[in-house]
Symmetry: C2
Subunit: 559 residues, 2 copies
């Protein structure tokens, strides 16, 4: 592996096309592209609106088995598949999330694909990009400032300062801000109270931006955010503080999807990036819808494994946006399947067909789950050089018994040339007309039942438990008119269970709902199981220490 | 005044030229402009470097009398003068600061000029613009996170958590964040300590960006930031935490100056915006230097009145960047002079020559002060409709006795047509060769003497007082090698004295230095006199409540 180029070396060596040419291939006139440099652009809201009567292309979801430290390469496969579809002559667009800036300075690793399946300019995408996350941060924190300012100037709304639920956000890994006391220092600074910061991607504003139809809908949803409760326990909305208009102004540009390109100069939309635990983990509805108007095939992805990401993509994003996926790709690697079969990370390079087959139980469960939504499935084996022929054969024959095809993909090493077979298969699946998409549960069952349905159908859990206070809270929200919302379950991504150390395909486990939160603007109820951190920390030796601009003006150490 | 258009209405009605054409007029090739939309662009670092051997144009500073609630229109005059110079056939560029986003949601009022002397697109400039302030915020807060993270993971540097001086920043008016306790919530969140947030423009990173020669110098200065002190009282630098490289990466794009245009399609650089109290209050050195290479006349401004803004422009920016101003314009209004002469705000519309002449003492002092730097002066009377002929005559004859010309300017109402006379006069002054610029004090006098020189020469104070601890701190910094730095005095902008209610031209007053701070990266020592807020609050009825996107997609309520 000594001569293998790093992701950033490959990205730097790429020949970029001017973004106006990428846009032109999608039929976007130059004046409807809002350029950010020569290689990034936003697509104007006016242009998007003008496409509404056009026919939609086919929607393909890329999801994965439960993530392991061995890596699965979901974004890499999404990008590779998009390139592969273009290679076989199809008009395809990729839709992925924007990465968060904060984590770049913690653990090494960007989020723009890898190897020969990347979106570029990767440095920009991983740093400030077009400023969307900064705009989200500003809008969120403006609301926070307005809450405390309202209380400072007399608290006409009677906000109970013990029951303010709206925190502040920052796009930074900063554990010191998780729990803080604000408004210290005397009368001029307000009323001291406990609060804290979450990372920007955990903001409800991020989820709202990604689910809103357009700027008007965005403003309405922003107004519906609950910032806390009055002394009489009634909710205080952002609109009660007159915050919605100014927040929408701050997000006006951010609402427009970003267009970039792959290493092979194919169009990619990179827009929005909500957390996949306390939010729904998909790129924006606006980007996906726009892509569907401009291309015949749209390849998108959802965060974490299919138990979290695909479920939320289907039950929250597709349900609410009226999207109907035509096919799904489940990404697996031989290495990750072996880990699911009990192999330790240091032994992954050794052939172990028995453990691999055992680990395939995890894949089989995800295949079964995705089919429950009425979406036809193909498995992509994202190739690593350590994979043996016997191992690849074992996975193929395992999934064949499930009536599903598994296709070996070498896009990481070869770009689109290594993923042609998958591209052909995806076209066949999406064009087969076999998709009969339906969400897992209807809108009108009680909130706790929705949680139970997901836990039973997707996680294969035996039981859902919750404290009385949690159950009462769910009932209260139903009485307040929020009962028709979907649920967004925050659970560890490493297991079907709530225990991150349980690999494979556990069954009959207990899912304990520790806490519930209402994202009234985004439009879902979050059920938290286990520990969910909404503000990461930096590691002992943060990547920031090794990041710099070299003498040639290139950024080093970011990836 | 019923039919007078608002600033935003005028701005909206303007015919913008594509920014590439504005750049072309300055000889900037299209590929060296980094576009942000069609009406904003950054100028590439490579292009800037390539201009270094070119001859410099003439540098003109626009400064003002002490600000009053009546308004002086310093930015408006800067923009108007730039347009006026272009109108009379000169190649002129405007250099001004970027406004801070936070205050836009507090009190009404943008910072991109006014009337028919504005830079556009004003909404963008007043909101996210090209993301510079967000980048500064991120770089600042990355360092903050690295400080607490370093302590969390064992504190190898032995940082005394009681002596951490580096706070966090946000571009928001949020008084609740002024004084906070961080790292609460238990072992996983670090060591609880007192801290707080300043507004982003108060960040030393902002001052550094505005004083750095280039990206390499920026990185060096970032590394020299002092974040706090060890238990042995030695300073801990940002470079000790390995933060400088990653901070420079975050600021790579922000270092490139922003090009926009005036209402009359003349080029304007809008770049950087440090506070004019605890920092030096001028646009970036990079922007000013680049403008000087591309134009024959560069019109720039400094924050607040000449006692603060011009003094820091000369003693900090010009001294450190080797700039040599050729002329200065002191902006005054009849209304503000009358307030300085004791007239109440509600009586300003009435003619009052006696009070006006009394208030001219303030103007005379500023004229005298600017001349101490060896820079020839002209006074611009920024016209208001309530000004009477007698009043204008009175000011003209008052300053004539000082050997200075005062010129009535109607750029607010008439654009460049209303400021031709001033433009001609400025050309004559700048071309006269009379400028003999020198800073007020040499580098090698003790820090306390530098403060005394400014207080005595500029403020006309009788005495400087300071606690023993302050004096000892200054001596300690001198021993550590910081004695050659200029001083940056934080004082109320409303008076020559430290009492904001004393108008006119007070003399013999006492300047008490309450606190001193070392901005080792920016390269100055801050002396704080009186109360200086580094995090503003929102008013009772914040502008945010009235800001929204209207049905035509335009932003309302921002100005």
């Amino acid at each position: 592996m000594g001569t293998v180029k790093s992701d950033i070396e490959i990205a730097r060596a790429a020949t970029k096309m001017p973004i106006a040419e990428i846009g032109a291939r999608l039929g976007i006139p130059r004046e409807e592209l809002v350029p950010y440099g020569h290689d990034k652009a936003k697509i104007s809201a006016a242009f998007i609106e003008a496409q509404s009567s056009k026919k939609d292309g086919k929607l393909i979801l890329v999801t994965a088995i439960n993530p392991t430290p061995a890596g699965e390469g979901k974004t890499t496969t999404t990008v590779g598949l998009g390139d592969g579809l273009n290679r076989i002559g199809q008009k395809a667009v990729i839709c992925i999330r924007e990465p968060s800036l904060g984590p770049c300075f913690g653990q090494k690793g960007g989020a723009a694909g890898g190897g020969y399946a990347q979106v570029i300019p990767m440095e920009d995408i991983n740093l400030h990009f077009t400023g969307d996350f900064h705009a989200i941060t500003s809008a969120h924190n403006l609301l926070s400032a307005l809450v405390d300012n309202h209380i400072y100037w007399g608290n006409a709304q009677n906000i109970d300062i013990r029951r303010i639920t709206w925190r502040r956000v920052m796009d930074m890994n900063d554990r010191a801000l998780r729990d803080i006391v604000v408004s210290l220092g005397g009368v001029a600074n307000g009323f001291p109270r406990e609060s804290g910061f979450d990372i920007a991607v955990a903001s409800e504003v991020m989820a709202i931006l990604c689910l809103a139809d357009d700027l008007k809908d965005l403003e309405k949803r922003l107004g519906a955010i609950i910032v806390g409760y009055r002394y009489d326990k009634t909710p205080v909305f952002a609109r009660d503080l007159g915050a919605d208009g100014a927040m929408a102004v701050l997000l006006k540009d951010a609402m427009q999807p970003n267009l970039v390109q792959t290493l092979e100069n194919n169009p990619a939309f990179v827009h929005g990036g909500p957390f996949a635990n306390i939010a729904h983990g998909c790129n924006s509805v606006v980007a996906t819808r726009t892509a569907l108007k401009l291309a015949d095939y749209v390849v998108t992805e959802a965060g974490f494994g299919a138990d979290l990401g695909a479920e939320k993509f289907f039950d929250i994003k597709c349900r609410k946006a009226g999207l109907s996926p035509d096919a799904a790709v489940i990404v697996a690697t031989i290495r990750a399947l072996k880990m699911n079969g009990g192999v330790a990370k240091e032994d992954l390079a050794r052939e172990n067909v028995a453990a691999l087959i055992e680990g395939c139980a995890n894949l089989a469960r995800h295949v079964d789950n995705v089919r429950k939504f009425g979406v036809p499935v193909v498995v992509a084996i994202n190739h690593f050089t350590s994979d043996t022929d016997a191992e690849v054969r074992a996975v193929k024959s395992y999934v064949a018994k499930l009536g599903v095809e598994a296709i070996l993909c070498r896009h990481w090493a070869e770009g689109s040339a290594g993923i042609e077979e998958l591209a052909h298969k995806v076209v066949a699946l999406a064009d087969s007309g076999k998709a009969r998409f339906k969400p897992l549960y209807p809108d009108d069952v009680p909130l706790i039942e929705k949680i139970e349905i997901v836990a039973s159908e997707i996680y294969n859990a035996g039981e859902v438990t919750a404290d009385k206070a949690v159950l009462e809270q769910l009932l209260a929200w139903e009485e307040q008119g929020y009962g028709n919302l979907p649920v967004c379950i925050a659970k560890t991504q490493y297991s079907f269970s709530t225990d991150p150390t349980v690999f494979g395909a556990p069954a009959g486990h207990v899912v304990h709902v520790r806490e519930v939160r209402l994202s009234a603007g985004a439009g879902f109820v979050v059920a938290i199981t286990g520990d969910i951190r909404t503000m990461p920390g930096l590691p002992r030796s943060p990547a920031a220490e090794r990041i710099f601009v070299n003498d040639s003006g290139y950024i080093e150490g970011l990836f």
